[in-house]
Symmetry: none
Subunit: 143 residues, 4 copies
């Protein structure tokens, strides 16, 4: 690759579907063990869905909150809970509705690179966090 | 339940998330064996997503076509390919964009009851059909 | 990186903003030389806008067609003109409106890797193609 | 033009694409110097995108906030920060989601005429403001 061309791209990494399914299954197993049905969304860096499951009894609309959490975490490369509460509503509106600081969204960071985001929704905040962390642990992602 | 009240409900069945994940994994295994990356969507009777995966290299926009196929099949309780070609465009538009007769969508019928739909998209039509059928077979659904 | 973790990611490449601006400026220069004002959209692999310009006198709604062309090319990793005409309308509807085979959309392929897509719209089809190709040439992308 | 007809029009001015690109490049250069990747949106008086770039590492969802800032500034012909905080949420909702007082949006005023708006988003508020002002300065717009 010539020097000129090299400046036009930058290396990146993407989560494989194998990795996404391992994370998804670990989240399901954790939620089953807790007895808390969940919606689990995993999105890539562009906010596009990679893997999803709605568990028996999980709340219908929490599909959307789990997705917003996943997109927010992937976009900002930090847990959703870090977004400034003083700005949360106006940021959410200005960003078109997807930006949230609801607990349960985490970036998926492998070897220091954010490859995507996961969002869990239907339980209480702390339950959503616990399920998301089980998914991160299963693929060796930073928690 | 009293006799009167009984008249106010009818029995139904829903696909469990365990069943959805078995179908999803079978579809992924088949697509991997074929060397054709796919988007696989499974929706419930309400057209709401139950399980999804986008495989490495699957086309981005085929996420939407796989979802349209799944919703169409669940809605009409028949394979997408049965929709009358002479009406396909006006039906699609009048139904809000989700109704399609693209190949690759099937109802999931267990014990004679349609519990949901599956849609596969990113390959050629016949490839999408083959992957969807592998998912149906894995959970003993009618093909 | 452990063997297990390695299986959870796959290497990718992204267009830099420097590269996107070189492509954008080359497209503008070409369109100015042709006397054909254009809308030029460059999107990443996730279909998200990376760079855009609407030239003086370019058609307002062609912003949307240029975007659809760019997203379609990035999604399918091929020029928009390759989409099967026999399926074009039903694919467009089933994919949510963004999938098009209008001329003027190209994947941006550098060193064999599709990093994103470009779409040009406001001129005639052949003019849109010519402007898009000037952008590709400026960054050494495959044409 | 007859005297009567003259009463039916009023003079206006629009930013050229050449001007938009000068502003965009100046904003990118400033953001690079600061080490803060940004989304930069420039919209015309109709709130329609004229020029845009997402820099390497800029937050995905800040594309939308940068656009909301640009549209708000162009609409109200004043910096976004001037909107009354006591009304910010109900104004944002009633205006369909695009009206915001997040810092980083400015009208582009040339020779006393507001020709369009610019919005910058992904950094902290003060950083977004600094980058937007660099764009204004580059084309001699009022700050």
């Amino acid at each position: 690759m010539s020097t000129e061309k090299a400046a036009f791209t930058r290396p990146a990494a993407r989560l494989t579907h194998a990795g996404a399914l391992v994370a998804l299954n670990a989240a399901v197993a954790k939620a089953e063990a807790m007895g808390v049905p969940q919606n689990i969304s995993i999105v890539d860096e562009g906010g596009n869905l990679l893997a999803f499951v709605r568990m028996d009894g999980a709340k219908l609309l929490s599909r959307e909150t789990s997705l917003s959490k996943a997109i927010s975490a992937a976009s900002h490369r930090q847990p959703t809970s870090r977004l400034d509460p003083a700005l949360e509503l106006k940021l959410a509106i200005a960003a078109g509705g997807r930006l949230t600081n609801l607990e349960g969204g985490f970036p998926i960071i492998l070897d220091g690179v954010c490859v995507c985001g996961i969002g869990v929704g239907s339980g209480k905040g702390a339950e959503d966090v616990e399920v998301a962390k089980a998914a991160l642990a299963a693929i060796g992602a930073e928690v």
